[in-house]
């Protein structure tokens, strides 16, 4: 074999490997590790025109309007004397609906619920668990694009959602 042919093959293949490494570096650094977001109001007030979603990990659970939590996902407890409603999403139920709640699934429930809501009438409030602080930024971008006003409220892990209907506020209960 001609030694020049061999050396040409070596140089071309070596160059390709280095080029591949370089382009992977550029793609990885440029695309994955930056997010841009805008601050929005944190909201504790309750209004009939607020529609709530809970964000936990990569799941968006449609809660519903204040005090009327979707009973497919939530165990709902009414405290008549205090005029408050507590909504808790049991883990086993969330596991059962994991696919439908996954924000990466194009057919996720959040998108079909948003399609049915009128952005002129409803504002979206996201109740965000610590595990979803990153996904929040992606979800909110989509919701803004659909024309909704967006607000948010942080929840700690395992903290129940409590609607204090009497005082028209979200109640912090630990």
């Amino acid at each position: 074999m001609n030694r020049w042919v061999v050396w040409t093959i070596i140089v071309v293949l070596g160059g390709s490997v280095l080029l591949l490494g370089g382009s992977t570096f550029t793609i990885v650094t440029k695309s994955s590790f930056e997010a841009t977001s805008t601050p929005i109001p944190g909201e504790t007030r309750i209004d009939n025109n607020f529609y709530y979603f809970e964000l936990d990990h990569n799941l968006a659970i449609p809660v519903g309007v204040a005090g009327k939590c979707d009973e497919r996902f939530y165990r709902v407890i009414h405290f008549r004397e205090r005029d408050s409603v507590v909504c808790i999403a049991p883990k086993e139920i969330i596991e059962k609906y994991r696919k439908e709640l996954d924000v990466f699934n194009r057919k996720a429930l959040i998108y079909s619920v948003l399609k049915k809501l009128n952005p002129g009438r409803y504002s979206c409030i996201f109740l965000v668990r610590p595990s979803a602080f990153d996904f929040y930024h992606e979800v909110v971008k989509t919701v803004f694009k659909l024309g909704f006003d967006v607000m948010w409220f942080p929840l700690e892990n395992f903290q129940p959602i409590v609607f204090d209907l009497g005082n028209k506020r979200l109640e912090i209960r630990r």
């Binding site: 074999m1 030694r3 061999v6 050396w7 093959i9 070596i10 293949l13 070596g14 490997v17 280095l18 591949l20 490494g21 992977t24 570096f25 990885v28 650094t29 994955s32 590790f33 930056e34 997010a35 841009t36 977001s37 805008t38 601050p39 929005i40 109001p41 944190g42 504790t44 965000v128 610590p130 602080f133 990153d134 929040y136 930024h137 948010w152 409220f153 942080p154 929840l155 700690e156 912090i172």
Partner: protein
């Protein structure tokens, strides 16, 4: 054993090529690992809102701290107001070292010390600061101060950009 020249060249080229491929693959993997470990950055777009300038307060590890930088281009008067506010917060903090973790005291201080017509609050909330932020939101009731907030995942760097 006698190896002819062509065979020697072939062996040499195969060895050389293997080394280059190994170095390349190692380089790519190292780069990916170091990039994955690199801090993620959140670019936060803030702006002057109805003539009010942003004052950023960070809630993390159940402590609230103000970023007293002049984030948006502003007049000397605004800079001075911001400096005065932060100086008096520092003085108060020296008197009451646990002020950072007292939502009601922070609310009272902001209510009295911050000009509502010149400033608004931007709260950056980390998961470790949720408890304090919740208490802060509960403590304030219709105080007439415009405010907005943003969740910032733990470990993410924040870059504030005034639009």
């Amino acid at each position: 054993m006698v190896i002819d020249r062509e065979t020697r060249d072939l062996i040499f080229s195969v060895v050389f090529l293997s080394v280059i491929i190994l170095v390349g693959v190692a380089g790519v993997l190292t780069t990916m690992v170091s990039t994955i470990n690199a801090p993620v950055s959140l670019n936060v777009d803030i702006s002057v809102h109805d003539g009010r300038y942003p004052l950023v307060v960070v809630f993390e590890r159940n402590v609230a701290s103000f970023w007293c930088n002049d984030l948006c281009p502003s007049s000397d008067e605004i800079k001075e107001l911001l400096r005065d506010f932060c100086d008096s917060f520092d003085k108060l903090r020296q008197q009451f070292p646990d002020l950072y973790s007292q939502p009601d005291a922070i609310r009272q201080f902001v209510e009295k010390g911050l000009d509502k017509h010149r400033f608004y609050l931007v709260s950056a909330v980390r998961p470790s600061g949720v408890k304090l932020f919740q208490a802060f939101l509960q403590a304030k009731r219709d105080w007439g101060l415009y405010e907005s907030s943003i969740p910032v995942p733990e470990g993410w760097a924040v870059k504030l950009d005034c639009k």
